[in-house]
Amino acid sequence: MKETTTSPRLLLAQRVAAILILLGIWWLVIASGAVPSMLPGVSQILAAIGKAFVSAAFWGALGKTLLAALSGWAIAAVVGVVAGLVIGSINFLDRSTSILVDFGRSFPVLALMPVVIMLLGSNARMEIVVVALSCLWPVLVQTVYGARRQEAAVSDTVAVFRIPPLLRFRRVLLPSALPFIATGVRISASVALLIAVGVEVISQAPGIGRQITLMQQEQRWDMAFAYLFFTGMVGWAMAAVLQRFENRLLIWKRQEND
């Protein structure tokens, strides 16, 4: 009850306060000397963030990471939605593939990296493939789930009015599964960024992850943390934009739930 009556301003103030308190604790921990001295303090990181902001190398690296993350994510979204709708709407396919889907979703794709690097090399294409393979599962699982839950009255309507399969796919199956698809796509957006950075750290393909490793090797912990911070901000911004888009797209769903 209480949350729903909180004004947006108060909410913003609360969130800012939470971040400030967290930073305060960090500063206290550093000041007390309880952790290794290589961990940079709040002020150093702020300075490093400012430096990164005006560095061409940083923006170049961020661009490469984002490009790989978004490409892999987009591929996964399209493949996952189409495959998920087909699997979820056809009973026997759903039954026969459920083991495969469960296996795939819990498979650590990063562990496959050596093989993928051997096959494709240490480049953007490899990175996109690994991102896509990782993002596929959240989208696929959610879409299958959404496509399964067809309202009986809607299925009857589609049958009685003899709606052709492709039209049904596009105008009935897809929109009715959309609330679930949206969740899967949103989850996989943050997965995409994490995996892209992770792949760069492991494979040294160019991007933010590689920059972070280089900074660590140069003992520039403040810069490494600044890059991490930026990556987090980008992930948060992506999720926020998607949430917005989702709210607009699913206006009918919100109304239904009221």
Binding site: A153, V154, D156, V160, I163, L167, R171, S176, L178, K253
Partner: protein, 268 residues
């Protein structure tokens, strides 16, 4: 074998549009078999309004789902215009009992009405025009841009009726279409359906558990009862084209017919 009561003499000159013979339906199989319909016969003439009345749980929805091709009867045949049908057919449109769920919430009412036309391959401009015309016919002119969930139950039901009308089928099948709206809305919708039948000459087959509604609307009332259900009586109402919620229901023949149906249903 139960022969249907023959009461078609007055309508003998009209043409037979839909013919059901020996329809038998059950759910489950083997020892768990639950027989719902047994050897049911039905004749529907062009332009006729037929009510099928029977108590709740007798198998009215099952019957309508068989007629609309959503269920396959275990035995018997359904003919429309002389051809045996097996599955959903372009000559049959349905208004569902669960009408509000049968409208797609992600489509506007106009899109909902136009959607089956898109399936028929009609171009967009024509679809929109036909949808608007049919929305106007059910009293929803200018409301096509609204979403179903922005509308009252009675209005949603009008949209479902407009969708079935726009499909331009020969027969409209309706499953307890007014069971979940308030009394005044229900009277309005009943009169709307009578008006549509007169205006468009559409043939209507409506199932209901409400004896008054069945009598008020129909040219012919088919009573189904027993377990498994079969046709136990057919009454030609003879009230003519014009109906009135007060006068028609005060007609002595209305009372007689109601008593006859009640009596027939209470025997079971």
């Amino acid at each position: 074998m139960t022969a249907p009561v023959q009461a078609d003499s007055q309508l003998a000159q009209s043409t037979l549009l839909m013919k059901v013979r020996g329809m038998t339906m059950s759910y489950g199989s083997g020892t768990a078999e639950n027989k719902i319909l047994e050897n049911l016969d039905l004749d529907v003439n062009t332009g006729e309004f037929i009510s099928i009345v029977g108590p709740s749980g007798v198998g009215k929805t099952t019957l309508l789902r068989c007629l609309s091709g959503l269920l396959h009867p275990k035995a018997g045949t359904i003919e429309v215009g002389g051809a045996i049908i097996d599955g959903p057919h372009p000559d049959l449109a349905v208004v569902f009992q669960d009408y509000s769920r049968s409208l797609m919430p992600w489509m506007t009412t106009r899109e909902n009405v136009a959607f089956p036309l898109q399936g028929k391959g009609m171009n967009k401009a024509d679809r929109i025009r036909v949808a608007e015309e049919n929305l106007a016919a059910v009293g929803l002119a200018g409301q096509g841009g609204k979403y179903p969930w922005e509308m009252s139950g009675g209005m949603q039901q009008r949209v479902a009726i407009a969708r079935a009308l726009a499909y331009n089928a020969k027969v409209l099948l309706m499953d307890e279409p007014f069971a979940s709206v308030d009394a005044q809305t229900r009277f309005d919708l009943e009169d709307l359906v009578i008006k549509l039948k007169q205006e468009f000459g559409v043939t209507i087959l409506l199932v209901t558990h409400d004896i008054d509604e069945a009598l008020y609307l129909a040219d012919k009332v088919v009573v189904i009862a027993e377990k498994p259900a079969t046709v136990v009586d057919v009454i030609v109402t003879g009230f003519g084209e014009e109906r009135d919620q007060v006068d028609t229901k005060a007609d002595p023949r209305f009372g007689e017919a109601r008593a006859r149906i009640l009596h027939r249903l209470r025997k079971n």
